[in-house]
């Protein structure tokens, strides 16, 4: 048996594309986590729960509108807003009063929210898993280089750069972005020059939650929507944020791409041990750059 018989050029290309489309969702969710982490200094463990709520809400809205072909698109629009609203309530109702507490305290608070949200999801949607069909126009696959590539993955692939560009614009070109970057470095100074820091914090928190909701909505048609999807994503996106550099949006992008690619290529090269490759990548990165690849805001 030759070594890596499968590593032909076309197969490698497709596998890279599959990996990148997976990285898109990871990036969108991780960027929300890293924004909140960078600006508000909250390690929000409940971020995965918000992603799960996003996915379940998408299911409910999409099935409510299942008569028309637009069900999923309506859900993609509305479900993240629902999640953002939950984020707003969390921030205004609780976190607003806790910014002075130390990180361990915050970690415990957000952990308690993961439990609350898990039970909430169980109450609202029950313990069964749900499955949502891919929207009509993205069903099936394209043939690229002789290999099938699912249309929905292509859609995700196109969304990735769009979100990256949008986040770049937001953080570098808008007032909110500039203030939040400044607030991340020195909160009191920003307050002293007359900026309403609380408002900025609320906006960033809600935006982060919104991104979790988008991630949940986008992933809904590709997998089982079930209890437990919060745990699996939170571990992955925390690793992504850590290898990218805490609080750095570009770090989240880089981390997500590394995670997605090592996963896809690993499956191709050593299918029996495909699971371990992303984690090996994390270990390698942290061995050589313990503070992450890009500059950490912390």
């Amino acid at each position: 048996m030759e070594l890596f018989p499968s590593l032909s050029f076309s197969v490698l290309c497709i596998q890279i594309l599959v990996g990148l489309s997976k990285a898109t969702i990871l990036f969108i969710v991780a960027s929300g986590l890293t924004l909140i982490l960078g600006v508000l200094r909250i390690p929000n463990l409940a971020h995965g729960s918000l992603y799960m709520i996003g996915a379940f809400t998408t299911y409910s809205i999409a099935t409510a509108f299942s008569q028309s072909n637009l069900g999923f698109w309506v859900a993609l629009l509305l479900a993240p807003l629902v999640v953002a609203l939950i984020g707003l309530i969390m921030e205004q109702g609780l976190f607003r009063f806790l910014y002075k507490r130390d990180h361990l305290m915050m970690l415990l608070f957000t952990f308690s929210f993961t439990l609350v949200f898990a039970d909430l999801v169980k109450l609202v949607w029950g313990s069964d898993y749900r499955s949502l069909a891919v929207p009509k126009i993205f069903q099936g696959s394209y043939l690229l280089l002789g290999m099938p590539f699912p249309r929905y993955n292509l859609f995700l692939l196109l969304l990735g750069p769009l979100f990256a560009a949008g986040l770049w614009y937001l953080t570098n070109r808008t007032l909110l972005g500039k203030i939040s970057r400044a607030a991340a470095v020195d909160r009191e100074m920003v307050g002293a020059v007359g900026v309403n820091v609380n408002l900025v914090y609320a906006a960033v928190f809600v935006l982060g939650c919104y991104l979790a909701g988008i991630g949940g909505a986008l992933v809904a048609p590709t997998q089982n929507i079930s209890q437990g999807m919060d745990h699996s994503i939170i571990i992955e996106i925390f690793l992504i944020v850590i290898i990218g550099g805490l609080g750095n949006v570009w770090g989240a992008l880089l981390g997500a791409v590394i995670f997605g690619l090592t996963d896809a290529i690993g499956i191709l090269v050593a299918p029996q041990f495909g699971i371990v490759f992303p984690y090996l990548a994390v270990i390698t990165v942290l061995t050589f750059r313990p503070k992450g690849l890009l500059k950490s805001i912390w």
Binding site: S6, S127, M147, N153, T222, I267, P271, Q272
Partner: protein, 405 residues
Amino acid sequence: MKTSLRFFCFAALVCCSLLTVSSAFAAKTIKVGIVDTYSGPASTYTNDVRDAFALAAGKINAAGGIFGQQLEFITRDSKFKVDLGLSAAKELVMREEVDILMGTINSSLALAISNFAKQEKIPFLVTFAKSAKITGEKGHRYVFSMNENTAMIGKAAAAGLAKKPYTRYWIAGDDYEYGHAVADAVWENLKQLKPEVKLLGKSWWKVGEPDFTPYITAMLAEKPDAVIIATGGRDCVPFLKAAQATGFNTQVPFYMHTGTEVSTLKPLGLSAPEGVIGTANYHSYYPDTVENRAFVAEFEKAYGRTPAVGALYGYIAAQFISEAYAKAGEVDTEKFIDALEGLSVDSPVGQVTMRAEDHQVMLPMFMGVTTKAAGKSVLVARDIVTISATEAMPSLDAIRKARQN
């Protein structure tokens, strides 16, 4: 005054006698304690077991019960956890004083309860757990399996696949006991039946893997003749979804146990992939016999949904209990077990027998290929081939060897 006193005494007497009568009634029931996962994703499967058992028990009771005693059952939710399930089983035996234990979909829990049942000398009827160890290596006098196990899946699948023209195979599955057990069993048997088959390689994914697309493109690159997918439970659904999205099913035929079963296909509706080769113990539409049609009609009338494979397990469990007591002639645990060994009962899939030597029920397996059917919102199996129970059962030599170690 005197009359009222007399009346009071009389009323008290009546009450007392009523009490003793009702307590006598209470003692005269046969209690089955069911421990299973009723919360979480596995409940999709277990609810059918319980509901079909309730349906069959209701019929038995309506026909006069077992020697006039009602067949009762109590359920406990194990939440797919071994410790919770085992303490629930203990509670059922110690406090509720159940005569028989039943359940569960979790193989580790089934083995734990089996061990407890052995110590307590309480019959334990396993429903849904698929580890071959239950009636193989860890089998004993008090444990019975009401469903197929990984060894039977392997033999049945190999028998079906050997008749197909494929020789170059790829194996992929859950990196977990069920996945490895099914993969090994299918492959061992297939190699024996068809020595020219060749294994190109294997891929293993974690249980609960959300996205199978990278695994599928990697397998497609190897260009196997066919793929054996050893994944179980709810993971079948996203796998089939990814297979549909990539067109995997149209390029490489693949086999998946329960791939044709309604529990797996229902969540996907008409977007489930066609052409998937699957095996299952039961279909509501096959075998198309009077018995099966009657059973489906009854189940649909009672619960408003089509029975899935779990319903068969629940139904035969109730049948075996009532017939075994009838054969034993009295309600006695040891006589019940003796009677259950080798007993045959009628079921929606025809007569099924409890093999005396290893306490494994002999169920036929149906191999088919998924297809859309006119007027149905869920895919069905076509070209169904029946693999008889005798073909699928592990050999008695294999059982003896496993138990010696």
